[in-house]
Symmetry: C2
Subunit: 261 residues, 2 copies
């Protein structure tokens, strides 16, 4: 089942269920309760919005061994692998939907890069859960692009500008509730050409490990998201580029890079 | 004018205006539009909630020279003063209201400390504003206690557990719209005894500087908050302690420390 949030008829964003090339509008939400309505739209005719607005936006910083190794090599440093699953955060102001534009700030540098990430969307309030039960609290999976400006990432004491400028966090296109983590492959394309491909679930600490540990200290709410990190060494995105994050079994998140005006 | 959010008659939290020892319920909110109603409650009879639920929770990490100097001395390190205003973030799951309990996790260490902070609450959507105009976007000021577990602050790669466990972010009691930054004094008391007192506006980078810079890259939304950092060297909080953050012209935020059960 695919959950989306969308605008049609100039309305506020509402939740919908994607079935093939149609969207069925629902009343309510997947996080509370809902009813299907008789309002059905062609998928191509609606404006997809971000599939959830999290109250807390969790994000795993470093979670793939090959990413750690190759990024360290690129920077001429020794790789430092995380020894424990320390969750981080991103900012809601940066979220944009599928097909919306990533706006590159005027003073951003050339190392302006994507990071293709699997995103867990929580369906139930989650506190003190075991690894074994962790995925019961996940409604489904969507896709995130953790856009990063590497110059700022090196110079700023926090990751605020490097990771959280407006439009730096594309998320969508929808939430897939029936995905199989072990068969997922993440493929990233710029203007149709593959620049990276990795096994999505090849994480240093997997989603159940993160969810269980975070929930030991923090309540995760329905609608919250946890971005799970990226693998490989991302490429630069140039003005006008279209970047696609494709996770098999989930969908394709597509955004174009434009200049700040 | 003092804006609060409160529960009365077992209702959902609504906005109210505090006048002396009474709360006048309003319809709407200070962030959109509102009307005073005829419903008036004694302040002592209502349950105050956090005065706003931010979409993005901005927090200044290090913003007072004396704090930098004395914390470095305590850790036997050289002080490192921030050279630019890099904003950080905190997590909504950690927010609690005035008079709610700070719950110390079972495995938290002895260095379990308050940080008394002035909090800007935004009233208007804010993007690309000058320092001169920055405060026009601030609805008013409230008080935050940036509770910190120093052992985790040293060991965790991010500040997630150190700063963002459930109940680690008391905020309130209300939003004061007419405060004068330059005359404010922050006083912190444990069980009534003063443990710290500092001039609130004695910041390395003041609120207009932060707001202007952040708004250059990030849209700050109505209801968002920016916590402005703390001064001095905080003391440990023991089980059963009552901690008060008193900012003159704003109010007193009071919370008790209890054990996780």
């Amino acid at each position: 089942m695919k959950w989306c949030r969308f605008k049609a008829d100039g309305s506020e964003s509402i939740f919908g269920i994607v079935e093939g090339d149609r969207v069925i509008a629902v009343e309510g939400s997947p996080f509370t309760r809902y009813e299907r309505t008789a309002r059905v739209y062609p998928l191509v005719a609606v404006k997809l919005d971000i599939p959830t607005v999290p109250s807390t936006f969790f994000c795993v910083g470093v979670n793939y061994a090959d990413h750690v190794r190759r990024m360290a090599e690129k920077r001429g440093k020794q790789p430092e692998f995380p020894t424990q699953p320390d969750i981080g955060y991103r900012a809601n102001n940066a979220l944009i939907a599928h097909e919306e534009n990533i706006v590159k700030p005027k003073d951003a540098g050339a190392e302006f890069q994507y990071e293709g990430e699997l995103v867990a969307v929580f369906g139930k309030k989650c506190r003190n859960v075991t690894k074994e039960n962790a995925l019961d609290y996940v409604l489904g999976w969507t896709i995130g692009n953790d856009v990063s400006e590497r110059g700022w990432q090196a110079s700023d004491r926090t990751l605020w500008r490097a990771k959280n400028c407006d439009t730096f966090k594309p998320m969508g296109p929808w939430i897939e509730t029936e995905a199989d983590l072990d068969t997922m492959q993440t493929t990233i394309r710029i203007n149709g050409a593959v620049t990276e491909s990795f096994k999505t679930n090849n994480m240093i600490f997997d989603a159940p490990t993160y969810i269980s540990l975070v929930s030991r200290y923090c309540t995760i709410m329905p609608g919250d998201v946890m971005w799970m990190g990226t693998d490989g060494v991302p490429a630069n995105m140039a003005m006008g580029d279209t970047v696609e994050i494709d996770i098999s079994g989930v969908g394709v998140l597509r955004n174009r890079v434009v200049a700040e005006t």
